[in-house]
Symmetry: C2
């Protein structure tokens, strides 16, 4: 495994250079990883016969490799045996920004775009590890308490891996940015923050009385922000596998 210092930056090329509002962009691994790790949901773009597809899926990160998975029947996966160019993007919407001109209306957000070659994980050891990680990265140590995976289930699941070749992060996190001459315009302006929160757990009706939610799920406490819970479970996962 190549050890890459998280303090270094991704190389910059025309592919990942942030062009629009470029002062919001950065290329350091720490910034990109923080945005990726704070989300479960990503969108992956790939091309099939010239047609672009934008597919939502769950992802996780191990060092500089992103993983996602799907059934073996998936349209995208059947075409990946050679490895295909892909772009995986994670975005968090953090606020709606209402300015005094239409032009300065904006949003607060964090996004990371990652470029690389997506490939099917064929190596049995890497695949077995990934099938554990897809659970344990989100729910610490949970695999050990589950009914073990069957060979048929493993066969029916395709895991995709993509080493991040280039990436960029883009963040807007501030208040209204009006033109100075508009400040006196008599209209309300400000930020409406938004946050994705965890609700009250809904136990399966078949969970026997007395079988409590395990302590290892404490990260997902009711009312907590999902991005914080996911950052915490990623840290725990990294500690567990290191």
């Amino acid at each position: 495994m190549t050890v890459t210092s998280p303090s270094t930056a991704y190389p910059v090329s025309p592919r990942n250079r942030v062009k629009r509002v470029h002062e919001r962009g950065s290329y350091d691994r720490t910034s990109v990883h923080a945005i990726l790790d704070a989300a479960m949901l990503c969108h992956v773009s790939y091309v099939l016969d010239g047609q672009p597809y934008c597919t939502p899926t769950l992802h996780w990160r191990e060092g500089e490799t992103l993983y996602w998975h799907g059934s073996s029947a998936s349209r995208m996966l059947r075409h990946l045996t050679q490895g295909v160019a892909a772009c995986l993007t994670v975005s968090h919407l953090d606020g709606l920004v209402l300015a005094r001109s239409g032009f300065n209306h904006s949003a607060n957000y964090r996004s990371a775009m990652c470029f690389g070659t997506a490939r099917i994980v064929e190596d049995p050891a890497e695949k077995a590890e990934a099938l554990r990680a897809v659970v344990d990265r989100f729910y610490p140590e949970r695999t050990a308490s589950l009914r073990p995976i069957t060979p048929q289930e493993a066969k029916a699941t395709t895991v995709i891996g993509m080493r991040i070749e280039e990436a960029s992060a883009k963040v807007r996190a501030k208040g209204v940015a009006d033109d100075p001459e508009d400040i006196g315009h008599p209209v309300w302006a400000g930020v409406l923050p938004v946050r994705t929160l965890i609700g009250a757990a809904q136990p399966c009706p078949h969970v026997p009385e007395g079988l409590a939610r395990p302590e290892m799920l404490a990260a997902y406490a009711e009312g907590r922000a999902l991005d914080e819970a996911l950052l915490e479970t990623q840290r725990r996962y990294e500690e567990a596998v290191s």
Copy 2:
């Protein structure tokens, strides 16, 4: 303008047919529109020199046309003058589903994938209307109270439009779906719901005392779910333009 009954379904082709867990898929316009309209953030995929890009942006819908916008400098937009194949996807994460086997772990979600040809909106009337809509679709009647847009601002903004040629919706909204023989396995199972909520408004410090938040922003009340607010403002927008 072509009037399309929202009760009809999109045509189904290999491009938009839902293959993975196909029983979660549907093609009716009402389902697709409800998912699109409940979000501000989308991801657009397009191809440039064989490389796929997955770009997060804000979108809105007018009938069967999706719009998004960006500065004229944007990488994507410069290549759109002829119109390019694009795929615009909206996804809502609604819950984390913890089952008794790794294989049956899942997520509750709503997603819509839309296919079409993205084109730059060149017609001055359509563009002027879009620059009003990008504000008023989200913030009812707000344009009328803003400092008017300048010709330079209009020139610096590129609006993209895409008629939806094909689309699909995919929804999972239920509890744990374990194999019957796993129900007795002694591990906690259930759903952790997640929801994106609006926080307390943060007024710009330059807003004069006594200038209240206008009633027309009531849809974005503190503690309300963002998807509900966006569905309400879309309804108001459709009533205003009809």
